[in-house]
């Protein structure tokens, strides 16, 4: 069980309010990702759920019970920190067993649970090592192991992959996803990386300056961003936002078109521009095109074998069904 409800939650540090009143429901078993630029309050929100930060007002419900005043250790939540926060003087075995030891569990039972967790995380060979002797990915797994043994109502992840290198990050992303499939426990995951959000989440919460901009499944956010901020934040490379006369043609203040929804041609098209930088990834080519009115540079995705050179003229045609329209407030026009 792990249904978490935030009602009218606010947080102020001194006179600055970092989180204006906020409501959010996280259903049992959901993988929810809080995503937003740094400083948007996503980590603060997570720490408030964990109980590491006090609420300025409002309340938090876990499984129907008011948990606002419940101390962190009794909320039944386990957290994985960005720095892993392993205990450096203890072996992996002791690290994983620490929460159970604090719960005054029998040593034999602790050993059993630690071994089970270690087996499922491929840590059996490292049980007697200290954190300093482990690689980043192994440390991350130990931190997850320490969370698993508690059998929490929900897992909280605070940017757990940002200290890992790119290749390892992809692997760990998959492992956490599989862990969720296996345990079916509520997970709340904080990241500034929209790729992590898109790949792992059942539900994404996009935050900006403490305000929830949109809540929805990854594809909902991709196809129907509620406003310009979400449109620009979700998707990689970023959506091109075009203002001025081109937007006016569609009856909007701003129109948005994703790089993958623009057709590129060297002979004819709607917009004309010059190639700036072309990034060849093999599978795709991202071309930054200069000179298109209202949006400079415009990023487009072309086929991997497209060969264009700097300074060459290209023609771009947006796929009309994929144009997003936004009004003067930046909100989506259907």
């Amino acid at each position: 069980m792990g249904r978490i409800v935030l009602k009218n939650v606010t947080k102020s540090f001194g006179n600055t309010q970092v989180i204006p009143p906020l409501d959010l429901t996280i259903e049992d078993g959901e993988f929810t990702v809080f995503v937003g630029p740094s400083g948007c309050g996503k980590s603060t929100l997570l720490r408030m759920i964990a109980g590491l930060e006090d609420l300025t007002s409002g309340y938090i419900e876990i499984d129907g019970d008011d948990a606002t005043q419940v101390p962190p250790s009794e909320r039944g939540l386990a957290m994985v920190f960005q720095s892993y926060a392993l205990y450096p003087h203890m072996t992996v075995r002791k690290n994983i067993g620490f929460p159970l030891r604090m719960a005054k569990m029998d040593q034999s039972e602790i050993d059993k649970k630690v071994e089970t967790a270690a087996k499922s995380l491929n840590l059996m060979d490292y049980l007697d090592r200290k954190p300093a002797d482990l690689s980043g990915g192994q440390r991350q797994r130990v931190a997850i192991g320490r969370a698993i043994v508690r059998e929490p109502a929900a897992f909280l992840f605070d940017e757990p992959l940002s200290n890992l290198d790119a290749a390892l990050r992809v692997g760990m992303r998959l492992e956490i996803g599989e862990l969720h499939e296996r345990l079916q426990t509520t997970m709340i995951y904080v990241t500034h990386d929209q790729v992590e959000a898109m790949t792992m989440a059942n539900k994404i919460v996009v935050l900006q300056a403490g305000v929830i901009e949109q809540v929805g499944s990854p594809l909902e956010l991709y196809h129907k961003p509620r406003n310009k901020f979400v449109a620009g934040f979700i998707g990689s490379p970023k959506m091109n936002l075009i203002e001025g006369s081109e937007a006016a043609k569609h009856g909007a203040q701003t129109i948005g078109i994703r790089p993958e929804h623009i057709d590129v041609s060297t002979t004819d098209g709607m917009w004309e521009g010059k190639v700036g930088v072309a990034e060849h990834l093999g599978s795709d080519t991202f071309i930054h095109v200069h000179g298109v009115e209202g949006c400079d540079p415009m990023t487009v995705r072309a086929a991997g074998d497209m060969s264009v050179k700097n300074g060459e003229t290209v023609f771009l045609t947006p796929q009309s069904q994929n144009i997003h329209k936004f009004d003067a407030e930046g909100l989506r026009i259907e």
Binding site: S73, F81, F98
Partner: protein, 312 residues
């Protein structure tokens, strides 16, 4: 090979200086400890100049070992050093943790806490033995006297007087007595060196990882468990440093012992060396060699012990 020559050449003066600095005194001490060498002897004037022809073998060592004060001096050295280490480490950890929290007036409190460390050892000893520990004129004497006066006047009171007349008259302790002068030294040096421990532990506490503590809070660790399983292991290395440095300093305590009791019943090794050095340089040197051996044993023993208990 040639590219190593220049760095070596440049290091040479420093290394030579260090060797001269260290080896000459040690060598001379060793040499003097094996010969008869006294400052003043009318019957054997040839002993007053150091010479290899006055060779005495292990005679000086034998003389020192048979001296009635030697065992006492070793015991006292160990008692004083170990007690001071024990007290300063415990007080240091407690105070460092207390002042590590933010509170108003933090800066002033920290400066005040550090200040005993700037008092000269001899001044420290004079202050404590005369102004605080003196059984008549010191704070101790005044405190004991006024408590006795208070109880005395309460004895006159109706009803409760009967109860207070059962109380004994308090006796002030004389710290210049042979049995207690070591405690006076321990008290004053602890007072002076606790700030050193506090300073080192405080810097270490400030580098403690806060996320580890938060993780421990979520794992259900209370204040004591956090201290025992996170803070104390974190302080393991600074504690080892404090113990090592203080062991070196306190094995050579002299001024405090001289001022408190002039060594009456409270000699340590350096004081014994000082006494021998009044005339018998050979015996003083032999004692010095014993002191070097003792210092090494103490250092190795303490470091092992601390390493084992704290680093798990």
């Amino acid at each position: 090979m040639s590219d190593r020559k220049l760095p070596r050449l440049l290091q040479t003066p420093a290394v030579l200086l260090l060797l001269v600095w260290m080896l000459i005194p040690l060598g001379l001490t060793l040499y003097f400890s094996f010969i008869r060498y006294v400052l003043n002897n009318l019957r054997r004037p040839e002993w007053t100049t150091p010479s290899i022809s006055n060779w005495r073998g292990f005679g000086n060592y034998e003389f020192v070992l048979n001296n009635k004060d030697f065992v006492l001096a070793i015991q006292n050295s160990l008692l004083i050093v170990c007690s001071i280490l024990f007290l300063t480490v415990i007080l240091g950890v407690v105070i460092a943790i207390l002042i590590n929290k933010t509170f108003p007036g933090q800066g002033i409190v920290r400066v005040l806490l550090i200040s005993p460390f700037f008092v000269m050892p001899a001044v420290n000893a004079v202050l404590w033995i005369n102004m605080i520990l003196d059984p008549v004129l010191g704070l101790q004497g005044i405190a004991v006297g006024s408590i006795n006066d208070l109880i005395g006047s309460l004895r006159e009171a109706p009803v409760i007087g009967a109860f207070f007349s059962l109380w004994p008259e308090l006796e002030p302790i004389s710290f210049r007595a042979t049995q207690t002068s070591a405690y006076a030294v321990i008290i004053m040096v602890t007072w002076q060196w606790t700030p050193f421990a506090v300073l080192i532990f405080m810097t270490s506490l400030q580098s403690e990882d806060q996320q580890q503590k938060e993780a421990a809070v979520l794992d259900g660790a209370g204040a004591w468990s956090q201290f025992r399983f996170l803070t104390l292991p974190h302080l393991g290395r600074p504690i080892a440093i404090v113990v090592m440095i203080q062991a070196i300093f306190h094995l050579s305590l002299y001024a405090e012992i001289e001022i408190v009791s002039r060594g009456n019943g409270n000699k340590n090794l350096p004081y014994l060396i000082g006494e021998f050095a009044n005339n018998n340089i050979g015996a003083a040197s032999a004692t010095g060699i014993f002191a070097v051996i003792l210092a090494n044993i103490v250092a190795i023993f303490l470091l092992r012990m601390i390493g084992k208990t704290l680093m798990e």
